[in-house]
């Protein structure tokens, strides 16, 4: 292990997760934080903490210079970016290396290549991974947009080539709408991302969102099987599972092998995720994008495979070969992760920063709670509302759901409204038990089933 010290360039639960993984490897940890995050758990747990700026992310967690100079001053060997913030910023990865440190993740070039959705699609196609029918590249103009729509049929999605996080997406149902939305989408993309480039994709209705965890050391590549992330609200994942619900074995094998082929194509180094849409009715899957970082939902993969992916990231970044071969990775059982957010699900998910007056975490076999919370902690309003993730494992999916219901009842978070009641309702719902998943399922369910308040037992008055 060549990394003796690491700076954590993130906050919240993922910062805590990275610190614990590093400490278990005997690595010294340095936590950067904004002025609003002096009291956060990661600051308390780290060996050293550095204030790098004011609360606004662009003045602290997104400030490349501030992060690099804190790292230099602290004398660390490496920087772990977590997810979000600078984690998929190729220029940041390059700046870390230029400053003589290790970036815990792929190279700046790999991040840029896979971060450009059009280029990533071309890489996928080269690796033999099926892509969603569409433009296959940037759309030159409206005339070409018409040709593509004629080939794929409606509805068709217009997406910003440089977009992300569900931003810059428009779905159109007709030529008239295409004519209207295409120039608007381009102007918006130019304003938001400094790049007006667009591409087009056929909309796969009732698609499931299935993704494969990949890992590489630059020469060897493996997958840690797939996750299902179909339960989303406003394109933000709410609930994730591993393995995917009733995915035929032959599809699972093809899917996972295609993700490894893609990793090999770009000589991938570190942890990554290849995202797909999967159509139950045709059993076809289509590549969407690659996330070149650890993901929020990585724990479900850890629970079914028994590997610590964040420790593995630190080892590989330090120059070690992958500690496992594909044959070593054998999934066992079923895991579900519920994202617990500081939002009130009974009031249209209104964000709810505030002070945690009580925290009780269930101690139960197969239950893990990755969190940033402690009693007395005041959640600042400036960042993401994710407070923690409740991850539950069982031998079978039904045992997992049973344990999850019990664990959710035992999880007491008081002081602010949270999404715990939403998860309690989901864990009891027939739809989740029968796996009636697709990416637009949750919003409809929220309007119809969740609106029946008697099904919900609010934890917080």
């Amino acid at each position: 292990m060549t990394i003796k010290s690491v700076l954590v360039a993130n906050r919240g639960e993922i910062a805590v997760r990275i610190i614990k993984a590093a400490q278990s490897l005997g690595v010294r940890t340095v936590q950067v934080h904004s002025a609003a995050d002096v009291d956060m758990l990661a600051v308390k747990l780290a060996d050293e903490a550095v204030n790098i700026g004011s609360p606004a992310p662009k003045k602290s967690y997104l400030n490349i210079e501030a992060v690099i100079s804190a790292a230099k001053a602290a004398g660390v060997d490496a920087i772990h970016p977590g997810y979000g913030f600078l984690s998929e910023n190729g220029d940041f990865a390059d700046a870390v290396v230029a400053a003589g440190m290790i970036f815990v993740g792929p190279s700046g070039d790999a991040i840029r290549l896979l971060g450009d959705k059009v280029a990533a699609r071309e890489v996928a196609a080269r690796a033999g991974v099926p892509t969603v029918p569409g433009s296959g590249g940037r759309v030159a103009d409206l005339t070409q947009a018409h040709e593509i729509a004629a080939r794929t049929g409606f509805p068709v999605m217009i997406k910003a080539a440089a977009g992300g996080g569900g931003r810059g997406i428009r779905i159109v149902d007709s030529l008239a709408e295409l004519d209207k939305q295409f120039p608007l989408a381009s102007a918006e993309a130019a304003a938001a991302f400094g790049d007006g480039g667009l591409y087009m994709e056929k909309v796969i209705t009732k698609a499931r969102h299935v993704e494969v965890q990949i890992f590489g050391d630059g020469e060897n590549f493996v997958h840690f099987y797939e996750r299902e992330c179909s339960l989303q609200r406003r394109r933000q994942k709410v609930w994730e599972e591993a393995p995917a619900f009733q995915l035929p074995q032959v599809v699972r094998q093809k899917l996972c092998e295609s993700a490894v082929a893609l990793a090999r194509e770009v000589k991938y180094k570190g942890a990554g995720t290849v995202e797909y849409l999967y159509d139950d009715s045709t059993r076809e899957f289509y590549f969407i994008e690659v996330n070149t970082r650890i993901q929020v939902e990585h724990p479900v993969t850890e629970m079914i495979t028994g590997f610590d992916l964040v420790q593995e990231m630190l080892k590989v970044a330090g120059g070690a070969k992958l500690s496992v071969t594909q044959d070593d990775i054998r999934p066992h059982g079923h895991a579900i992760e519920c994202r617990i957010n500081a939002e009130d699900p009974l009031k249209d998910f209104a964000p709810s920063p505030g002070t945690i007056s009580r925290l009780e975490v269930p101690e139960q076999e197969g239950v893990r709670f990755d969190t940033m919370l402690y009693e007395g902690y005041t959640i600042p309003p400036f960042y993401d509302s994710l407070l923690g993730k409740l991850i539950v494992w069982g031998e079978t999916r039904s045992e997992c759901l049973k344990r999850l219901r019990h664990a959710l009842d035992g999880l007491k978070i008081e002081g602010v409204p949270t999404t715990v009641p939403l998860h309690q309702a989901l864990a009891q719902s027939a739809a989740v038990q029968t796996g009636a998943f697709h990416t637009r399922f949750l919003e409809g369910w929220l309007d119809t089933d969740f609106a029946c308040k008697d099904k919900v037992r609010p934890e917080v008055a």
Binding site: A56, P381, F382, Y383, D384
Partner: protein, 80 residues
């Protein structure tokens, strides 16, 4: 003539404009009516419009653009 207060309903970051290049919703000295939007507050990466809630003239902002605010903090005053 009385002073009426416009308070932030939520803690977060206060913006006087809808986007970085847009003109402010209201300039100091403007008149406002109850339903007028006077600013936007960013809370946990979501944006919420703040409506005046009162009618009056000569609005004076007590908060700068992009300033962190607490729930209940007075953002502006108008003459009622």
């Amino acid at each position: 003539m009385s002073k009426l207060e416009i308070r932030s309903p939520l803690p977060g970051t206060f913006y006087r404009t809808s986007s970085p290049d847009a003109a402010p919703f209201k300039a100091d000295g403007d008149a406002v009516s109850e339903s007028d939007v006077v600013g936007v507050i960013e809370v946990m990466k979501t944006f919420h419009e703040i409506t005046a809630g009162v009618s009056g003239k000569n609005i004076v902002f007590l908060c700068d653009n992009e300033e962190p605010v607490m729930a209940g903090q007075v953002i502006a005053e108008v003459e009622g």
